[in-house]
Symmetry: C2
Subunit: 364 residues, 2 copies
């Protein structure tokens, strides 16, 4: 089956992808929040055009390199949602000549450096620590927030846009409702405190589990999820999507079958899928789940088969009886990824069922 | 420090790399085994030239794509050490016109397909399962071995070279001595059984921990380690190298410092380092360890600082007091990788201290 892909290749189902995009755009519209999707997951200009066709006019990225890739594509603004790296001010100055940009600030030091070196107008969000300590200013650290705002006010080139929270702990903590109570409250309090001085102030949040599952964003103005464009097994595991919503599958050729051990060896390993895994309750790892490839779609089999171990190029599949009956050496099967952002970044381009290639920043 | 690298960049110390290469070549010479290094770790033509300068004339790779990359570089033979993917026979036929190649076989099905479709001479090894079940024929499954040999004998284009074991469980099982007793015995028995019929038969083994630590290869003819060219924290943890032997470090800019939490936020995450990690006895993860960058070298600090968590682009460092005193926002520090093969594959090129670029297959 599918001899079109003779080596590991990342297949994209545009129907599923476009359905995911439409669903999130509809939800944002229904709940009166502006959707400013994060492009770090797909990193593709073509998929960007699909996004644009839904009347979305601003996007989020995670590096200046990614902002460069999506500039000249007619976006009203590109937000770089990563604590700004002061060594990249020259790149920022270059890009900001021709593309409206905003950055993310978490400390006074970088703000002061921007004040000294910035040559063009740039917006900024202050990132607030969502509570899991990865990055951002503590919501109660008003001294630091005031320090950043005071420093930024020394130039007319830095325009304060508002506060940004990425509630990334929604990926591994169970109580997303509580996380969103905290997120809404933190952003509402900050808005209340600063909106007098900054009447245009907006608030934004962004994780895919929250944006998929929550129906109440309080007075949050914008959402910036990224992963929802493809979803993956991690999101399905959280309940943010169904497996049927996963829009990419890694095509892998079967190079050996050991029926006695119920294992299938495929060419598809850590350099293709990444090393992200899900832990089952029994302690076993899954690096992906098998789907059966058809001419213009894939199918989730009744019995689950999964990648139980990987090394650089090898994947060993724990295969169901159904799968062992169905496939043979030389067939190509699909693997739904555990973490689609990482798998897409590893593979550096996508293929449609027709064999047509779709761009990814890393493949340029 | 090191403002040359303003964004994540993979730095290679050629002195350490060349020392690692020389040491392994000297050991192979001393123990009268032929070193046929695996190029999957560095995937670089320039490093290939450093290898060649040590009078090494054959190499190992893990995919036909990698074999294509290293063809035309004057290698006497390139061995593709991965159970051969029968869908790639057309590519093999194409490449075998101009480059001496060998492949790895683990079943009769693929052998028969090669017999039917092969157009040029190609050598083959039979891969023997080292005992941890990733891939290969069970050493006692003489029916399968005989089946492969009988099938291969139907064409004069397939030339049996011998038996190959990759004792990859040396990475996570403690008793490497025992693993090597098993490896030597398995290969010696197979040699004894088949050398009458195949007088040129050779045996090969390949893992870096074993090749670094063992002094007795018995009557094994060839070794094919790969990772030793750079080593990494996994190898240092096993005892296969010292941290001073690690030849690559990811340069990462510091974007935030939280002295109260003793954490440093860097631009450097899963898309740069990969998601491989080491577990400390206390259950904490390490995705890499900090080194201090100098003009033409790096330095391992007295007090250990390590990457305690990563996401796609973020790395959070658990920082020692020494490090917190030494660095500030806007500095660039180095991260020794947990798994150098994966980090190099993520980064797709190397830089020397001078800023000069060195090729990697994935960057082409």
């Amino acid at each position: 089956m599918h001899p079109r892909f003779t080596s590991p290749a990342l297949l994209l189902d545009p129907k599923i992808c476009q359905r995911n995009l439409k669903k999130m755009a509809d939800k944002a519209h229904r709940l009166s929040v502006k959707l400013i999707p994060h492009f770090k997951t797909h990193q593709s200009k073509l998929i960007g055009q699909w996004v644009k066709s839904l009347n979305i006019d601003e996007i989020t990225v995670s590096s200046i390199k990614m902002a460069e890739y999506f500039s000249h594509d007619g976006w009203q603004n590109i937000h770089i949602a990563f604590p700004f790296n002061p060594l990249e001010i020259p790149k920022l100055n270059h890009l900001a000549q021709e593309q409206s940009l905003s950055v993310q600030l978490v400390n006074v030091e970088v703000t002061e450096k921007l004040v000294l070196e910035l040559k063009h107008k740039v917006g900024f969000f202050i990132e607030i620590d969502a509570g899991y300590g990865r990055t951002g200013v503590n919501k109660n650290d008003l001294d630091k927030i005031d320090g950043i705002l005071t420093a930024a006010n020394k130039t007319s080139l830095l325009k304060f846009k508002g506060f940004y929270i990425h509630a990334g702990h929604s990926y591994y903590e169970n109580d997303i409702d509580q996380i969103y109570i905290d997120t809404r409250e933190a952003l509402a309090q900050l808005k209340l405190r600063y909106i007098g001085e900054y009447p245009q102030l907006i608030t934004r949040t962004g994780d895919t589990p929250g944006c998929s599952l929550m129906e109440d964003f309080g007075d949050i103005n914008e959402i910036g999820p990224g992963n929802f464009v493809f979803y993956d097994l991690t999101q399905a595991n959280i309940g943010a999507c169904k497996k049927e919503d996963i829009a990419i599958a890694l095509c892998v050729p079967i190079v050996d079958v050991q029926k006695d051990k119920k294992t299938i060896l495929v060419h598809g390993g850590g350099v293709h899928l990444s090393k992200d895994f899900l832990l089952a309750p029994d302690g076993s790892k899954s690096f992906g789940e098998v789907v059966i490839l058809h001419e213009n779609s894939w199918e989730i089999p009744q019995q689950r088969s999964f990648v139980k171990s990987i090394s650089q190029e090898h994947g060993v599949i724990s295969a169901s009886d159904e799968l062992l009956d169905l496939v043979k050496i030389g067939d190509v099967i699909g693997i739904l990824p555990v973490h689609s952002c990482m798998t897409a970044d590893c593979m550096k381009k996508y293929y449609l069922f027709s064999g047509e290639e779709i761009d990814h920043l890393e493949g340029q």
